[in-house]
Amino acid sequence: MSTRWWSSTEFAEFLSKLVPDSISRVEENACYLVPEKLVEAMMALRDDADSNFVHLTNLCAADYWDKFEVIYHIQSLEKNCIASVKVEVLDRENPVLPSVTSVWHGAWLQECEAYDLYGIRFENHPNLTRILLWEGYPGWPLRKDFLTMPGGLQPGLNEFAGTAAKPEPPVHTVE
């Protein structure tokens, strides 16, 4: 007996019946939700008896140079199944997402952490503060463009599958 992972197609089919128009696109790994419908969809997934995703296992963000993704791993303890849900944040200057703390209290600290390291603001979060770094720390350290290394090298690799347009890395000049 082991945990059943919901495939993205199965998940999309289920969710589109539950909350229509909440899915933006379906990929091989995961299903992408519409940010406006995020809280409603999550609430429905938690409360529906067939899905019963009562436990938010993991919440983290990732930076793909041109966009952010926030990844939710939600699971059901009764049915022993888990699903991966993603949301895209396209606005790099002012990334905003609705908070899911009203659905799962456990998102509190994880959203704070994502805000602290990526700068993604979660709306309606009860107390969105930086937790690991101090208030007023310049920049968002886990973003890919946060630091440039000497010699023009950048953290991470310069190629990523599926990223067509990549912002030109700023050139580091040594005086």
Binding site: T3, N29, L56, N58, N80, H105, W108, L132, G156
Partner: protein
């Protein structure tokens, strides 16, 4: 006292330099008399930006980082990370390697719970004695780690595709000699602490977390099981061959600090059972598969999780096909278990807040990473 006379509320810092915060962890509490009216935790004193650093290093080079997150259970952390990379790269581990991993992870759970139970007893005011008794046994487990991997605390023993070295000769005998001693220590802890009237008076009905709150707040590990929720990754989502072993999940009655303590003690007994079974049928063969040093998994993502001593330890990796991870995320059980700190402490007295904090069994290295 505060019932009768309204005193000035004042803000008090518990930590970062405090005997009972188990590291540089700080709780800012607002106190009215002895009663806590507000609690806010301040963390980040030990932040080393591991997730950023890991994006610079190859997959193999990242294993030592995982030692240093939860420094009381480095073997479990190694295991979780290696599982994630193997899932990402589609690698398999030989049977012997899996069994060795299980033995190490369970010994690590014993060592970590020794520390957790002892420190919790220290928080209740049993002045140093339980912590020293449990630490004596923990030292013996660390001796075995030293014998196997050369290091006591940050073992760095697991590798992608298996474990680093073959077991030394005499390993099995050493572990078999150790287990009865551990049983004895656990029995002592049960008798002298869990059945001690003062300990019961202090720990019972303190820091109660209801099962609904526990599930909603994403708690895992002994915190969740103490609240009566039967959830253990080793049973629910077996990894590394845990489905072969016979063990049970201990769950509590009410979700108070006492339940968490007894759940930890019982988990130690179950761990001993697992180690015995794993030693009994330790398969032969290689301990590891050959994996290139600069391992390049195909592009994609993987989320692997294990039951670490503190709860569900997850590693979320995104690969872009290069030699180092594009995104390296740790799901830290210690941090997420602290979500209910406010629920546990507000309304309690300062002494109970210390008990509540001790029953979470945090490791600050993992909270701050």
């Amino acid at each position: 006292m505060s019932e009768i006379v309204k005193t000035e509320p004042f803000v008090m810092n518990i930590g970062p330099q405090h005997p009972s915060t188990h590291g540089v962890f700080r709780v800012k509490v607002t106190v009215d008399g002895e009663q806590i009216t507000d609690a806010e935790m301040v963390i980040g004193y030990l932040h080393r930006s591991m997730e950023k650093l890991a994006e610079e290093r190859t997959y193999t080079q990242n294993i030592p980082f995982t030692d240093r997150t939860d420094y009381l259970s480095s073997m479990s952390n190694n295991l979780g990370y290696c599982l994630a990379v193997e899932k990402l790269g589609g690698l398999s581990v030989p049977a012997r390697g899996q069994a060795i991993r299980v033995i190490m992870a369970e010994l690590q759970r014993l060592a970590s719970h020794c520390m957790g139970a002892g420190a919790f007893a220290n928080d209740t005011g049993a002045w140093q004695t339980p912590v020293m008794w449990f630490n004596r046994e923990r030292e013996r487990i660390l001796d075995i780690f030293e014998m196997t991997s050369g290091a006591r605390l940050t073992c760095n023993y697991m590798r992608i595709g298996g474990v680093a070295f073959e077991l030394r000769s005499g390993f099995e005998e050493a572990v078999r000699n150790l287990l009865p001693r551990l049983q004895q220590t656990i029995a002592d802890g049960q008798e002298l602490l869990a059945e001690n009237e003062i300990f019961i008076a202090r720990a019972r009905d303190v820091a109660v977390v209801s099962p609904e709150t526990a599930i909603g707040a994403s708690l895992t590990g002994p915190m969740l099981r103490g609240s009566g929720v039967a959830w253990d990754i080793r049973k629910a989502d077996p990894y590394s061959g845990y489905e072969k072993y016979d063990f049970q999940i201990p769950i509590g009655y009410k979700g108070d600090a006492y339940d968490r303590f007894t759940v930890r003690l019982e988990e130690m007994r179950q761990s001993i059972k697992i180690v015995e079974q794993a030693l009994d049928d330790l398969p032969g063969g290689p301990h590891s598969t050959e994996v290139p040093l600069a391992f390049r998994p195909p592009a994609g993502e993987a989320y692997a999780r294990i039951e670490s001593p503190r709860g569900e330890l997850g590693y979320y990796l995104i690969s872009d096909g290069g030699p180092s991870p594009f995104r390296f995320h740790i799901r830290p059980p210690s941090l997420i278990n602290l979500s209910v700190l406010k629920e546990m402490t507000v309304g309690a007295s300062v002494a109970d807040a210390i008990i509540a904090l001790g029953s979470v069994d945090i490791v600050v290295g993992e909270i701050d990473r």
